[in-house]
Subunit: 338 residues, 2 copies
């Protein structure tokens, strides 16, 4: 099994640089004032296709081409940001693409995937879609791009944190969501190489905490039922054999309940004026809990992983009013600003 | 009465350039594909304080300073983006600020205004707040910054369109919301000077269509009751004597119903991944109706005027699912992408 290295991330950066945006790092002076620390945000929600996932998909595709593979078809199974990323990446090279997905894929994500030119095959259950893509991958000339458990995908996702550490000096910590662990794994490798003192910390929905359970029990655990969470980008049933050993080396791991996810999604949309996925906003719970234990002002970066949200999720996020309780550190009582 | 000229807009650009962002102009390849035209978006929702209003407030404040005024206090009446803009602008120069507002100001906008250091005085009715600010403006050293009906405010808002026409070549049309008409007036002056063939078109909520009525009747009409609309930034009861003569020269004016406002707010938030105010998204109704009458592909720019939205408004926007009916020109039947 090939271990991913920082050299792979550097190679990925060169490989994908012509096709992706170097997303901005932004901040909110109001939030910083409230928290008493500096929080920066890497805006991968403004990445092409609306999520960081494009990086791993492109790196995998371009590396296969470099190695001389004559790709006749790209295949993937996903009902989320990975589907759109694969469809868009393949469309850049006019390679036919088939995405295998469960029938409960949202119409809007299906439309986006389709609009990039991909064929969409729907199955009653996710497991059936996974079986179908494994079959399709056996066809001659088929390139299967998995969502996280692949060295080239992990190296591609690691480019986010490599960029962050060039864009932002002296970062004390980087926070990100953990679904299958591709982003967390790549970020860990990039940070250890570029800034060994920077803490790398991941967050997962409590309602789908397979990674946290895996870390506690010392082996990969799998969710028995689909996770019901606003953070659908981190509802993956299990991490993989490539990502798990890297996730074990993280400096922190937080499990986040649904109220906190909705609370921070409202606040980040409001403060940053960006259409931020709950999966991305979730990391703020980790940030405030981490900062509560810091005695000196910190500079941390949150990876805003994506900006694709269903109508139903928007309704759930905004059904309660969280904006009248301003963000504060859990252990502190900040003076009200009003 | 001093008429605003393009020279005033140029002077405003120099004056405010150190304090504002030159906001990006962005586009959605998916939307362009669906519409068969190019639609660009000027992202003033990412301007400091979350709206273009900062430009007019800063221009007025800085010009007063240039003219030697010893400003002891800045005063304004507003319950929206103008309040935050004035509070922030004055805070840059450590000038005490009082904002006069109706008691129904949202807690979140009050908190933002307050966080910039302004004092907030609340009154049962908006008219009382307006009376109070007029009184306060009589104090020695008081600078009153009105929300739209002032030459320096109009010149400041005109800098948005001056930037657009430098950032985007060969623009056929520029679309914006019309509340009091400051943005539309300034945009008209900038466009006529820089690109005389560019159409300048404004949009107003049908539920608060005082400007459209004024244009039809040939004199300034005032709403009898407060407008109930999602587009709260354009709910102003009447245009002013500075803005009305300029609004009369616009190339088009659309009145937009609440369903269209919600529909386009959902679509723009989804496609552009930005937290866009209904007031800003409203312009898309004008765009598609305008484009339906064009026989050749057009390039138009929509000014995304702001990104400040109350929780209650977010609930209203997202209570129905509009994302399953993709944008299309009213007179055309586009093939479904799904």
């Amino acid at each position: 099994m090939h271990s991913v290295t920082f050299a792979d991330i550097n190679a990925a950066r060169l490989r994908i640089s012509n096709y992706i945006r170097t997303s901005d790092v932004i901040t909110s002076s109001l939030l910083n004032k409230w928290l008493g620390h500096e929080v920066f945000f890497k805006t991968e929600c403004l990445q092409r296709t609306g999520a960081f996932k494009l990086r791993g998909a492109l790196n995998t595709l371009l590396r296969a081409k470099e190695q001389g593979m004559q790709i006749k078809r790209v295949v993937a199974s996903s009902s989320g940001n990975h589907a759109q990323a694969v469809a868009y990446a393949a469309s850049l090279f006019n390679i036919p693409t088939t995405i295998y997905s469960a029938q409960n894929i949202s119409k809007i994500k299906a439309a986006a995937t389709h609009s990039y030119g991909a064929e969409l095959r729907l199955f009653p259950l996710r497991e059936e879609a996974d079986d179908a893509v494994a079959q399709a991958a056996k066809e001659p000339g088929a390139l299967w791009i998995p969502p996280f458990n692949h060295p080239d995908v992990i190296a591609g996702q690691g480019t986010v944190t490599a960029e962050i550490l060039e864009q932002t000096p002296e970062v004390n910590g980087i926070f990100m969501p953990c679904g299958g662990g591709g982003l967390a794994s790549g970020s860990l490798l990039a940070a250890r190489a570029l800034s060994p003192n920077t803490k790398v910390i991941a967050c997962e929905p409590l309602a789908g905490n397979d990674a946290a359970q895996s870390l506690r029990l010392g082996s990969i655990q799998r969710l028995v039922e689909p996770a019901k969470t606003l953070a659908d980008g981190a509802a993956t049933p299990a991490v993989g054999e490539y990502t798990y050993p890297l996730i074990q080396k993280l400096d922190g791991f937080y499990e986040v309940d649904e109220t906190q996810i909705a609370y921070w999604t409202q606040w980040l949309q409001h403060l940053l004026k960006l259409h931020i996925e709950p999966t991305s906003a979730m990391s703020m719970h980790g940030v405030v809990n981490y900062l509560a234990n810091c005695s000196s002002p910190q500079r941390v970066v949150v990876i805003l992983s994506g900006g694709n949200i269903d109508t139903q999720k928007m309704q759930q996020i905004w059904q309660q009013d969280h904006l009248n309780n301003q963000p504060s550190l859990p252990s502190e009582s900040l003076a009200s600003v009003i």
